[in-house]
Symmetry: C2
Amino acid sequence: MGISERKEREKAEREQRIIGAAKMLAEKDGWASVTVRRLAQEIEYSQPVLYAHFENRDAIVGAVALEGFGELGPVLRSSVRRGASAAQAMEDVAMAYLEFAIERPALYEAMFVLPSGLRFAKSDTPQSLRDTFGAMMAVVEPFCANAELATEAFWATLHGLAELERHGRIRTAFRKERVAHIVDMFASKS
Amino acid sequence: MGISERKEREKAEREQRIIGAAKMLAEKDGWASVTVRRLAQEIEYSQPVLYAHFENRDAIVGAVALEGFGELGPVLRSSVRRGASAAQAMEDVAMAYLEFAIERPALYEAMFVLPSGLRFAKSDTPQSLRDTFGAMMAVVEPFCANAELATEAFWATLHGLAELERHGRIRTAFRKERVAHIVDMFASKS
DNA sequence: TAAATAACTATAGCACTGCTAGAATGTCAA
DNA sequence: TTGACATTCTAGCAGTGCTATAGTTATTTA
């Protein structure tokens, strides 16, 4: 009875094509241009088919967001140079985070700005999401007694820097200096 | 020839009613429910009239955002308790900022999240916007050599905290602790 | 193999959006 | 009173997310 397996496989493939198309369109022309009609056209099916895969448009954004977390976690972890000090590690992660946010704005928006239906810090929070938070916690931990609280603060700082820079509200040229300043603060307050 | 003056006055009044209606609707039901049709209905004119006042919907958001800055600046300045130390002043401003963001989410969104057409850190940046930045700089200055850079970092941190908390991504219950942690860092790094 | 059933997919439509061309109305000076 | 101007509205476009319904295809049963 490999027939239902084949169908499931085909459905999973199609779902991946929807997510891929959404990601591609969003990165090319922004999320506003990711419409259900356009996605349907892209995967060569009619619109209602998409609603057999996702409850609504937000759920598609959520699926892309999840892929984003699958990327960001490893990016952060691998950004730390070999033999880096604790402070250097923190700086590496911070810079990697900001580069990700600026270079993949559509993905970053899906993850942190747009309504995506993703639940954070809950029992059903996906693993890739926990991993990403863990990657940040790993470089904060050496300096702070209350690691979870400090990581929230660290993450918030990075997110704020990313958003204000993305919207042109702070000077892009001084990214490195701001990161240095912040890491200095987090690291000196042991 | 007071006739054209009267017309200008009436136009200004109507413009204010549009902005007021947008602000009210956004705070009541969120920005998604602020449609040009609904605003037109609210001010008892037809839709095209709104386009005689604002180039497009974003410009209306921008006008509300500007009002927001007119509120936030004074809120931050008056939040500092009399006789507060420099560190206490920083904490007061930080808490006031976050309270503003959480209690006035629609206004905050217009100011910092939605496309509003407002230009920051440019020669034509409105005064109320500079004032708000100045209010933050005032409490950062005592601790940092490069005040502008440090203020960008401080502001980014607050913005990140506000956004992550607004979206339920960090634990609301620990706001005060996070602020204490951050102020401690900014203040101890003199 | 033919009919019945179930699974799938498309057409067509709803109610809504931002925005605008052109018609109708009102206001004023000649 | 008439013509010119400014103001305002009606009606419509092209688009959105989403869905009821009809139609087609695939699978199972007789």
